[in-house]
C-alpha cells in the first residue's frame, strides 16, 4: 500500500545553514503522526516541503506516492495545511474566508465548512478579528477540512491557545479523523499534547531525525533501567539513548528488542511516551549523526526509521 507520507534523505539548506538533513521516514495512510522537536528543529521546514511551499535542497518527500513540488497545484491540492498561529485575513468575515477557500480550491466543500461553524456556534458574518483565538483556530481547521485533501498538516496548532481551546481543537481534529480516515501530521513542541492522539511519532532536533516510528512499537522496545551507579558504558543489551547519574544511582534508557531484558543489578521498567520522546529530545544531534556502531545494535525493523 502506498504510504501517505514518505521522505527519502530529505534536506533543506537556507543559504549556509541546513535546516533539515537526511530525513527518511514513512507514514502509513490513516496514521496520526506527532512531529516533535524544539523550536528551530526544522519542523516547519519539513512541513513546508511536504505541502508544496518550499522546494527541498536534496532528497524528496512524497504524499500518497506523488513527489511534492513547491508552487504546484497538484501538490498543493493533496494537502490541507493549518499554519502556525492559524493565520486568516483579519478583516474578512468567516463567510468571506470560506468564499476565499471556495475560489482557491476546486474540491471545496462549502456545506462541511458551514456545518462546522453551525455546530461550534460561530456566526458566518462575524469578522475574523472579532473571534477568540480558539474560534479562529476552528475556522482555520474548517477551511483545511473543507479543502478535502487526504493529508492534513497542522503546524503548532494549539501553541497560542488557552487550555480549554486546546482540548476543543484537538477533539475536533480527532473527530474529523474518525469520520474521514484522514492522515494527520501534527507538529508541536508540547509532547503532552500529542500523547493522547498520536499513533506515530517523529522526533527532530537541530535538523536531524532522532526517532521515527509507531508509538506502541517504540514504547515496546525501550526500557528504563535503574541501578547502582557504574562507570561502565558498555554491557547493556542495546543502544543507550539517555543516561542520568545521581550520586549513587544511574538511570539509563535503552533501546533493544521487544521483550523485557534480563539484567541482574538493574531494575527494568517500561517507559512512557512522554519520557521516551523527552529522552530523544535531550540527545545532542551530533552524537546521533556519528554513533559508529549504532546501526548494528538496532533491531532491524526500526533501523530505517532512524537517521544515520
Amino acid at each position: 500500500m502506498t504510504p501517505a507520507l514518505q521522505a527519502d534523505r530529505l534536506g533543506k539548506r537556507y543559504s549556509q545553514a541546513w535546516a533539515l538533513r537526511e530525513a527518511t521516514f514513512e507514514v502509513p495512510a490513516g496514521a496520526v503522526v506527532g512531529l516533535v522537536g524544539p523550536n528551530g528543529a526544522g519542523k516547519s521546514t519539513l512541513l513546508q516541503m511536504t505541502i508544496g511551499l518550499l522546494e527541498p535542497t536534496e532528497g524528496r518527500v512524497a504524499v500518497f506516492g506523488a513527489t511534492s513540488r513547491a508552487n504546484r497545484a497538484d501538490t498543493l491540492g493533496r494537502v490541507s495545511y493549518v499554519a502556525q498561529d492559524h493565520p486568516l485575513y483579519r478583516d474578512f468575515s468567516v463567510g468571506d474566508m470560506f468564499r476565499f477557500g471556495r475560489h482557491m480550491n476546486p474540491r471545496w466543500d462549502q456545506a462541511l465548512a458551514q456545518q462546522r461553524m453551525k455546530v461550534l456556534g460561530i456566526p458566518l458574518n462575524r469578522k475574523i478579528k472579532r473571534l477568540s483565538g480558539g474560534q479562529q483556530a476552528q475556522v482555520a481547521l474548517a477551511m483545511a477540512l473543507a479543502k478535502r485533501a487526504p493529508l492534513l498538516v497542522l503546524d503548532e496548532p494549539v501553541a497560542s491557545l488557552d487550555p480549554v481551546a486546546r482540548v476543543e481543537f484537538m477533539r475536533e481534529v480527532m473527530a474529523a479523523v474518525a469520520d474521514t480516515g484522514l492522515t494527520v501530521v501534527i507538529a508541536s513542541h508540547v509532547v503532552s499534547e500529542l500523547e493522547r492522539i498520536c499513533d506515530h511519532v517523529i522526533v527532530l532536533t537541530e535538523g536531524r531525525m532522532q526517532l521515527a516510528g509507531q508509538v506502541d512499537e517504540l514504547v515496546g522496545c525501550h526500557w528504563l533501567l535503574t541501578g547502582p551507579r557504574t562507570g561502565a558504558r558498555a554491557g547493556f543489551p542495546g543502544m543507550v539513548v539517555h543516561r542520568a547519574d545521581s550520586d549513587r544511582h544511574s538511570t539509563v534508557l535503552i533501546r533493544t528488542h521487544p521483550g523485557r531484558p534480563a539484567l541482574p543489578d538493574w531494575q527494568t521498567q517500561p517507559v512512557g511516551f512522554e519520557e521516551l520522546v523527552l529522552a530523544y529530545l535531550q540527545r545532542p544531534a551530533a552524537t546521533t549523526a556519528s554513533d559508529p556502531d549504532r546501526a548494528q545494535r538496532l533491531p532491524g525493523s526500526v533501523t530505517k526509521a532512524v537517521s544515520r
Binding site: 511551499l53 508552487n71 498543493l76 493565520p87 486568516l88 482557491m104 479543502k147
Partner: protein, 295 residues
C-alpha cells in the same frame, strides 16, 4: 481569484473613487473663475484670429499669470499623488501577507502562489489604469483653457495629461509590490518604493525629457529679446505651444532650441514607455522571485 482580489482591494478601490470625486470637485470649483475670464476676455477667439497669438499678448499673459499660478501652487501636491496612490496600493499587496503571516495560508491553497500573484497584479493594474485615466481626464479638462494658450509641453501640463500620469502611477505600484516582497513590511515598503520613484521623476522631468527627441533649432536675429518660460506667450519661436528649451547667442544670430507643439504625443509615448519598462522590470522581478522563492 477575481472575487478574492476584489475583496482584498475593494477598500482601495472605493478610496480611489473618493479621491477622483474630491479632485473633480476641487478643480471644478477652481475652474469657475478661470473659465469665466477665458470667455469674457474673448481669448479663444483672439487665439483663433491670430494663429501666432501676437494680437492679444497682454491679455494672454495676464490670464496665465493669474490662473497658471493657481495650478502651479497645487502642482507640488498634485505631482506626488500618482506616486502615493501607487505605493499605497502596491506595498501591502505582498507586504501585508508577510506582516500578518497570511502568506502561509494563502499560498497553501490549491491555486499556486504564482498564479495568485499574476491574477491579482493583472486585476489591480487594470483598476489603476482606470484610475489613472480618470485623473488624467479631470486634469486635462481643468487645464484645457490654459492649454489652448500655452500648449501641453510645459511640465505643468505634460505631467498631468496624455498617458504619462497613468505610467507614473503604475511604476510606483510596481516598485512598491517588489519592495513589499523584499522588505515584508507595508509601511517600510511604501517609503522604500516612493523615494526611487520620486528621484526618477525628477531625473526624467529635468534631465531626460528634453533629450528624448533631438530638439529643433530656430534661428532668430540678435535683436530679438531673450525671454522664455512656461508662461511666455507666444514663445520665442512665435508659434503657440512650442516649448523653448534654451537660447544660444552667436555673433550674428540667436539659436533657439525647442520642442514643437505637435511633438506632444511622441514625447508622451516615449516617456510613458520608459516608465512602463521600469514597471515591467519591477513586476517581472517580483513574480520571478516569488515563483522561485526557495524553490
Amino acid at each position: 481569484m477575481t472575487w478574492v482580489t476584489w475583496r482584498q482591494h475593494r477598500g482601495e478601490a472605493l478610496g480611489g473613487l473618493a479621491l477622483i470625486g474630491a479632485l473633480a470637485l476641487v478643480l471644478l470649483w477652481l475652474s469657475g473663475p478661470m473659465r469665466f475670464a477665458f470667455s469674457t476676455d474673448g481669448l479663444a477667439g483672439c487665439v483663433a484670429a491670430s494663429a501666432r497669438g501676437g494680437g492679444c499678448l497682454t491679455r494672454i499673459q495676464s490670464f496665465m499669470s493669474q490662473f497658471g499660478f493657481t495650478f502651479n501652487q497645487l502642482l507640488l501636491t498634485l505631482i506626488l499623488i500618482p506616486g502615493l496612490i501607487g505605493v499605497i496600493v502596491g506595498a501591502p499587496l505582498l507586504g501585508r501577507e508577510f506582516e500578518q503571516g497570511t502568506w502561509r495560508m494563502a499560498w497553501s491553497q490549491t491555486v499556486p502562489r504564482t498564479r495568485w500573484l499574476v491574477t491579482k497584479l493583472a486585476l489591480v493594474t487594470g483598476g489603476l489604469v482606470v484610475l489613472g485615466a480618470a485623473m488624467t481626464a479631470v486634469f486635462t479638462w481643468y487645464r484645457s483653457p490654459m492649454d489652448q494658450l500655452t500648449g501641453h509641453l510645459t511640465w505643468a501640463a505634460f505631467d498631468f495629461e496624455g498617458v504619462v500620469l497613468t505610467a507614473y502611477l503604475l511604476c510606483a505600484f510596481a516598485f512598491a509590490v517588489l519592495a513589499g516582497l523584499l522588505i515584508r513590511r507595508s509601511v517600510s515598503a511604501m517609503v522604500a518604493a516612493f523615494i526611487p520613484w520620486l528621484v526618477i521623476r525628477g531625473m526624467v522631468d529635468f534631465g531626460l525629457r528634453p533629450h528624448f527627441l533631438r530638439p529643433l533649432t530656430s534661428r532668430l536675429p540678435r535683436s530679438a529679446s531673450i525671454n522664455f518660460g512656461p508662461n511666455m506667450v507666444p514663445p520665442m519661436t512665435g508659434h503657440l505651444g512650442d516649448n523653448v528649451l534654451g537660447v544660444t547667442t552667436t555673433a550674428v544670430n540667436q539659436l533657439v532650441s525647442y520642442q514643437p507643439a505637435d511633438w506632444f504625443w511622441r514625447l508622451q509615448f516615449t516617456e510613458a514607455g520608459l516608465y512602463l519598462v521600469l514597471t515591467a522590470a519591477a513586476i517581472g522581478t517580483a513574480v520571478w522571485l516569488l515563483h522561485r522563492r526557495a524553490a
